[in-house]
């Protein structure tokens, strides 16, 4: 479906330094720096896949999405989407894709949502029967029936995003690009949006590419992750594999009769990170020490009343990843 090989894109940016002297200097002479937004980028995405495209700001995420959607022409390399070169056959290409920008609306602010939809129907030349069918389906799945007659400006952020997503799908695109689709949404709306995207992918086989900083989105939606940094793919694999590799640390909290930090003896791979009269927090390295052994070691030295083991958050995982690859 999507095939990217050795894609390169370089931008030239004017340098600006602070201070009156430098400002005056740059008034007459300007220096430029080159930024390799895409630096020999390679990946393929199959039909019906859901892929999370992650990376720190400025890593090349939006440049990639722009190339894939036909907005940006790369310097060199090959890129085809559904057999087409996006920027060479722009109109034919964009008729097959849908794009949702979390922070940029395509709905008309002052007219009812349904009017934007009929306009999009004509822009994309969707025949009436197919339009009806899609609209009914989207209305039902996203719960839009109360919203369609309301002007966009009167909708809440969550309601608007649901309409936004429907607007991007009215023409049945084969590929859906989602850019921060849940940014600023409340918990209920987030879950509704995620559920819908999952269902759409399952039922229509729509290929979904998701760029986001929200790791919960990634966890809920995608099995495969593409990590980009400095214009290259640094890591291409499943979220589970990443978790197995990087999330080896556990936090174990123990409510107990009392522990003496000085006399405590702990096996390798286990350290005491917090100690209170009736409570202690340990951090475990599960590659060295299985959780059951850790529990055994503590219970041998005190009475355990209650116990919980937690994974560190996905955000911590990503921080680790960025650090390991020296990006971000």
């Amino acid at each position: 479906m999507i095939y990217v090989k050795e894609l390169c894109k370089t931008f030239r940016v004017a340098r600006r330094d602070g201070g009156m002297k430098n400002t005056l200097k740059s008034f007459f002479h300007r220096e430029y720096t080159e930024i390799h937004a895409l630096d020999h980028l390679n990946f393929t995405i199959g039909e019906g896949e859901m892929v999370g495209y992650i990376g720190p700001n400025g890593a090349g995420k939006s440049s990639t999405v722009k190339v894939l959607s036909g907005i940006l022409v790369p310097d060199s390399g090959i890129c085809t989407v559904g057999g087409r070169v996006p920027w060479k056959e722009r109109t034919a290409h964009v008729a097959q894709i849908g794009v949702v920008f979390g922070q940029r609306s395509q709905l008309w602010w002052d007219v009812p949502v349904i009017d934007t939809f009929t306009l999009l129907r004509d822009i994309y030349s969707v025949p009436e029967t197919i339009y009806r069918r899609n609209l009914d389906e989207l209305t039902e799945m996203l719960g839009l029936s109360q919203l369609l007659r309301t002007p966009t400006r009167q909708l809440s952020l969550g309601q608007r995003m649901r309409c936004e997503i429907a607007a991007s799908l009215i023409h049945d695109p084969k590929i859906l690009f989602l850019d921060e689709p849940t940014i600023g949404l409340d918990a209920v709306s987030k879950i509704a949006v995620r559920d819908f995207i999952k269902a759409r992918n399952r039922e229509r086989g729509t290929t979904v590419i998701l760029t986001t900083h929200d790791m919960q989105d990634i966890e809920a939606l995608t099995e495969r992750i593409l990590l980009i940094g400095r214009g290259r793919i640094l890591r291409d694999g499943s979220l589970d594999a990443l978790k197995r590799e990087y999330m080896t640390e556990r936090h174990m909290t123990v409510l107990c009769a009392g522990l003496d930090a000085d006399t405590l003896s702990l096996p390798a791979g286990m350290t005491l990170s917090e100690s209170h009269p009736d409570r202690a927090v340990f951090s475990l390295d599960t590659t060295v020490l299985p959780v059951s052994d850790a529990i055994a070691a503590v219970s041998a030295q005190t009475d355990i009343y209650d116990l919980s083991v937690e994974n560190p958050s996905l955000d911590t995982l990503i921080t680790h990843l960025y650090k390991e690859y020296e990006v971000g």
Partner: protein, 270 residues
């Protein structure tokens, strides 16, 4: 003293901002040249048609137009402070009340700074180049150093007067919550009545008399006419005095309006 330094820092920041946009400055200068030429050619055409009805000399006309172009940014009637207007419209201006500075002088200074910083970059090149144009199109020197002195004092006062007039226009947004109508009414009124559309001496005498009872005649029109000697030096002190009187009326009026406007914001709950 400390407060003054705050204004100076703010001003130098604005100048630095403007300096970054060298292309904009060059484009502005080029545009103003063309406009200046266009107007000079137009008024020369009227002068050719009926020299007896034309009150100014060729030099006076050209000088008036070039001064106008050089100091355009200072007297630009249509440019308002967009961030201030945004503050009023979304109600965040209420937070400004928590600051230890009073708002009117602060806004006055902001308005002055953004205008001066833009003018600073543009007026010298225009004045320098237009000084070397052929006869009839050239910007000439004032008749005497005293003329120049009077021009300078009057220019400063006219600028302060312009900002003092702009303040109520900004404050009106408190009451109407929409600036586009205010902007066009204000801009057209000021442009027409202060001579930036047609130099005031070319208007019918009756209209000029009417305008002399308003502050508009004492904006840019006054210093430019003093510079070229159209207003005799002996009359200059009278014009300068009237400028001062208008300032004494408009500044307290603006400050009072602002107080009223702010109380509205507080009542509405911002």
């Amino acid at each position: 003293m400390k407060r003054l330094r705050k204004y100076i820092t703010f001003f130098s920041m604005r100048v630095r901002c403007e300096l970054q946009y060298r292309t904009a400055a060059l484009a502005g200068i080029a545009t103003q040249f063309c406009w200046g030429f266009m107007y000079i050619l137009l008024y020369h055409a009227f002068r050719r048609t009926d020299p007896s009805a034309y009150p100014m000399t060729e030099d006076q006309t050209a000088t008036y137009i070039w001064l106008q172009q050089a100091f355009l940014a200072m007297f630009a009637s249509w440019s308002m402070e967009n961030d201030l207007i945004a503050q009023i419209k979304d109600g965040t201006v209420a937070y400004e009340l928590c600051r230890p500075m009073s708002l009117y002088p602060m806004w006055f200074a902001k308005c002055m700074a953004s205008r001066l910083s833009r003018a600073l970059l543009r007026f010298l090149p225009i004045l320098l180049i237009t000084g070397f144009l052929p006869d009839g199109y050239r910007m000439v020197l004032p008749p005497s150093p005293l003329h120049f002195l009077a021009f300078f004092v009057s220019l400063v006062l006219a600028f302060l007067l312009m900002v003092a007039l702009l303040m109520p226009a900004h404050i009106a947004v408190f009451f109407l919550l929409n600036e586009s109508g205010i902007r066009s009414i204000f801009a057209n009124l000021v442009d027409f009545c202060s001579g930036s559309l047609v130099p005031l001496p070319l208007l019918p005498a009756g209209l000029q008399t009417v305008l002399s009872y308003t502050p508009f005649l004492y904006l840019q029109n006054t210093p430019y006419l003093i510079y070229s000697g159209y207003v005799p030096l002996s009359a200059a002190p009278r014009y300068i005095l009237i400028q001062c009187i208008w300032l004494c009326i408009l500044v307290p009026l603006g400050a009072w309006m602002m107080k009223k406007g702010l109380s509205r914001v507080v009542i509405q709950g911002g």
